[in-house]
Symmetry: C2
């Protein structure tokens, strides 16, 4: 490798289409500006965690209002091309995603309803067993249920991306097998990096990659090993994962949580499935090198410093998500 | 006028694009076949009368299922061109419409939500005063309310057609004035034909036409003067209305109610706003010359016999609805 081959990180970051596999911010104009400052052109924005059908409908409706109010700064994306367009225009493309299948209730028909409303990604379970399958925190993972198989088939039919980040390993393997389309882990790391229920054993990572899917390496302190983990350690993990499952299957999913108070992290952890206050929660400290979306250029620095070539860095930063979205989405309408 | 100018009704009916301004059937494959037999290419199908947000979402979801199951026979239409396409293909284009604003609840943002789901037409009120305005049966019509003005503005913005059929006269005149887009009366007749609260005084008919809107003359026995009214009387009414408000402003809205039992007509009349059984209801008898969608060719016969020229007959049968839809709809997405 000659000096000529070593990408200049700042130029590379500016040129690349940067896509974040998941953020769950308290969204506002300021947060969109943070994304733009960080050079992020596309993001999977969480529109439901525990919410049911009606409440999620209101959240989606509010996104339409935001898209009107901040039209100069962002747009709602339904395709990978919408993200490419946002990059060209210097705007941020927000793709609506669920971290749960709770908005579908027990009605598989609502997959198409929310698809038509612009929702492109849904995680099969959040932090507990649900009607679709087992979560990563569940001592007994049911596997993908009968209803879960219908949800997977319907998501395949309408072109909605299946996300396994918080999903239990048994259900995840079932889903990879059941799905005719590639699936994603939008925001998790390998358990060989940090052994945490939210991270994924090699078997699951490999299954996702072999099915044509993508794994978003995650910056959330809990799955990163805490705020003390170095950028070099994170990027060395990315590099090893690239070696293990292939450069086109690795991406980023920061799990940014901008502007929430501690009440929100307790909501995320406890929802209404257990009493508030039973397990108190506060937000963890983020590493000094990644405080929020504005710090994405540093990640590019780190990936280059870790010795990844330009093509791989571009893949990890965004092209791999775009390729997956091109594969999976059908433009928002059932075939 | 020479013999050459008198259209041949059967040929005319086959050639024309026939669009029905409103049907509220218990939909099934058999009913779609009745429409096809009757040469109907497009229909505004009622997807809500009293139902709220969640229940209406399920109705819309079920329409998506029907569109899959009966794809050979029908399609869901979002534009006038979808209806023209259905005509070319020998299928029936179903356009989803509401006979109430109840699915929006008290949240004007849900107009865009349902617009994105394919709903193209909404009547501002059904049979009682609601948050938007007064119904035609209300002794005191509030006029278009503050919320109602926001609903009208939002319907204008997203391209949803405002229907005034069951709406009170004061609210109707307010809505015509407030709307920047033409509006419709999808299924009512003039009060000079039958003096019934569901029919419209000349002032309202004129206001709708002057705003570029369309009035769908209605075959429902209650507003037709009963089953004894003759086809010639109905068609003479159409002709007089054409003379009064202009040929491009008159169309048809049969209000067909196929395959429901009497429980449904009581639901329509009483919803849950008064106790069931308080005002018992049974379906009225339809005139012998119009029992259902299969009898549309007879209406064409009658319009020709009433002396309307071919251009006017084509307008009344469907072109006037298509023109209005072209004017009002924006292809299902907010600008």
């Amino acid at each position: 490798m000659t000096a000529h081959d070593i990408p200049e990180p700042a130029r590379l970051h500016t040129d690349a289409v940067v896509v974040d596999g998941l953020q769950i911010n308290n969204w506002s104009r300021e947060v969109f500006e943070e994304l733009r400052t960080g050079g992020v052109s596309g993001v999977n924005a969480t529109a439901a965690v525990w919410e049911g059908t009606d409440q999620t409908l209101r959240t989606v409706a509010e996104w339409y209002q935001m898209a009107q109010r901040h039209n100069d700064l962002m747009l709602l994306a339904e395709t990978a091309d919408d993200i490419r367009k946002a990059k060209d225009e210097g705007r941020v493309a927000v793709m609506l995603g669920f971290q749960n299948t709770s908005p579908f209730g027990d009605d598989y028909r609502l997959v198409e309803v929310f698809s038509r409303l612009g929702v492109r990604i849904a995680q099969l379970t959040y932090n507990i067993q649900n009607a679709v399958g087992g979560s990563c925190y569940e001592p007994e993972d049911s596997g993908l249920t009968r209803f879960g198989r219908n949800i997977v088939a319907e998501m395949n039919r309408v072109g909605m991306l299946i996300d396994l980040s918080h999903v239990g390993n048994r259900t995840s393997l079932d889903a990879v097998e059941a799905s005719v389309a590639p699936v994603a882990i939008t925001h998790s790391n390998p358990t060989w990096f940090v052994d945490n229920p939210r991270n994924k054993p090699a078997e699951v990572l490999r299954a996702v990659a072999e099915g044509g899917g993508v794994v978003g390496c995650c910056l959330y302190p809990l799955v990163l090993g805490g705020a003390g983990t170095g950028l070099d350690e994170f990027c060395a993990m990315v590099r090893r994962l690239v070696d293990e499952i292939g450069p086109e299957h690795v991406a980023l999913g920061s799990d940014c949580t901008r502007n929430w108070d501690d009440g929100y992290v307790e909501w995320l952890r406890s929802g209404h499935w257990r009493p508030r206050g039973e397990v108190p929660a506060t937000w963890p400290e983020w590493p000094h090198w990644f405080r929020g979306p504005e710090d994405f250029p540093r990640v590019t620095d780190g990936l280059v410093a870790a010795g990844l070539d330009e093509h791989t860095v571009r893949g990890v930063l965004g092209e791999n998500w775009l390729g997956l979205f091109d594969d999976v989405f059908l433009g928002g309408r059932a075939a």
